[in-house]
């Protein structure tokens, strides 16, 4: 069972910012993947994921973001996370991915 993911897309000079709202888990990850791939179609230099309203992310969500970064690196672009809540930051920390995704 997949679920839609609440989000808003904002253009930036160097690409785009997507602000998410809600938990990112295995039910949402397939939709998140479609959304990220679409946002990466114009090959932006930077895709910022605003996580301020995401209270929880699981490893399927993290893997989906890692795949997006992998795609973006194909044209020297990047995917960066901003505004992570502590619980989300801890999840990335355990996965050993805070630096890769530019999580301060």
């Amino acid at each position: 069972m997949t679920r839609a993911i609440q989000h808003e897309l904002f253009p930036r000079d160097d690409g785009a910012r997507i602000a998410f709202d809600g938990e990112i888990d295995m039910h949402v990850a397939p939709e998140l993947r479609k959304l990220l791939r679409k946002a990466l179609e114009p090959r932006p230099r930077t895709l910022v994921l605003d996580m301020a309203k995401v209270p929880f992310i699981d490893s399927s969500g993290i893997a989906t973001i890692v795949e997006a970064l992998k795609l973006a690196r194909g044209w020297s672009g990047t995917v960066r996370l901003e505004g992570c809540q502590d619980a989300v930051r801890d999840t990335f920390d355990i996965a050993g991915l805070t630096r890769l995704l530019g999580i301060a």
């Binding site: 997949t2 888990d25 295995m26 990850a29 397939p30 993947r33 699981d58 490893s59 399927s60 993290i62 893997a63 989906t64 890692v66 795949e67 619980a87 801890d90 999840t91 920390d93 355990i94 996965a95 050993g96 991915l97």
Partner: protein, 279 residues
């Protein structure tokens, strides 16, 4: 979800007041010999509960009953709000996605690679794309330090490594609860320490509830938020590690200090030795 209790926060734990497992008056007997003789237990979300006791005290039987692998003769286990032994197979399958188990041996499929073993629950229980599953497998193997071993089969790695792969597989679906059966057994001290740190991190950083069955006291005191000691199928002591360590109870003291003399006998046979030999 309820917030962590004051006591839990003080310990750096994410333990809440929400009960995720309730064991009520559990009795299990094998061949008429009681193994569990009325166990009552509560496990709270986010805590690491260590169940300890000597060989034959009933701790593995308790774990197997708590995961639905054994049916009790009396009593019940309520896991994540469901009466475990009243569920049909479909109900049990749905519940099994929410908890992971690290078996003593690792319990891997020998015909599959390490990576395929870890991917198995993801392929069976999710609709995730294969590319995402491949990344997740690398993430789970990295957690246990074995990312470079993905393409090997279990017979090509050591027993300790197989156990770590078993843990990576137990973590595949990001379970709310993880049961560990003797997590340090057969591992060298460094790897056992790494596994202990991972258990603690999953609990303290992600709020995963852990139930750890062990007789290794160093590990037990490193990971526990709370400890329960079983003896002859009953809970004989329960409390935070510092209370268990300071207890005057001779049964608990003998066990945690590994003393040969005390109330815990070496011999468990109830029949007379000479009479048995001469019968």
């Amino acid at each position: 979800m309820t917030p962590p209790s004051t006591e839990a926060r003080a310990r750096g734990s994410r333990r809440t007041d929400e009960v995720v497992i309730e064991v009520k008056d559990l009795h299990v007997a094998f061949d008429g010999r009681p193994v569990l003789a009325g166990v009552d237990l509560r496990v709270y979300r986010g805590e690491t509960l260590v169940i300890m006791g000597g060989s034959g005290c009933g701790k593995s039987t308790l774990l197997r009953t708590m995961i639905g692998a054994l049916r009790p003769n009396r009593g019940k286990v309520v896991l994540l709000g469901k009466d475990l032994h009243a569920l049909d197979e479909d109900g049990l399958d749905a519940l099994r996605k929410r908890f992971g188990i690290l078996f003593q041996s690792g319990a891997l499929y020998n015909s599959m690679t390490v990576g395929e073993n870890v991917a198995l629950p993801l392929r069976e229980h999710t609709s995730l794309d294969e590319a995402i599953i491949r990344i997740m497998v690398k993430m789970k193997l990295e957690l246990v330090g074995l990312r470079d071993f993905e393409s090997l089969v279990p017979s090509q790695i050591s027993g300790g490594m197989r156990k770590r792969v078993g843990l990576a597989r137990a973590l595949a679906l990001d379970p709310e609860i993880i049961f560990y059966d003797e997590p340090g057994a057969g591992l060298d001290p460094v790897v056992a320490g790494v596994i202990d740190k991972l258990i603690a991190d999953l609990s303290r950083k992600l709020g995963v509830t852990s139930i750890v069955v062990t007789h290794e006291m160093g590990s037990a005191f490193r990971v526990a938020d709370r400890m329960v000691m079983l003896y002859e199928g009953r809970v004989v002591a329960e409390g935070p590690p510092e209370a268990i360590r300071a207890t005057a109870d001779p049964l608990v003291r003998q066990f945690i200090h590994g003393e040969p003399d005390g109330p815990i006998p070496l011999r468990r046979s109830k029949t007379d030795y000479a009479e048995d030999l001469l019968a």
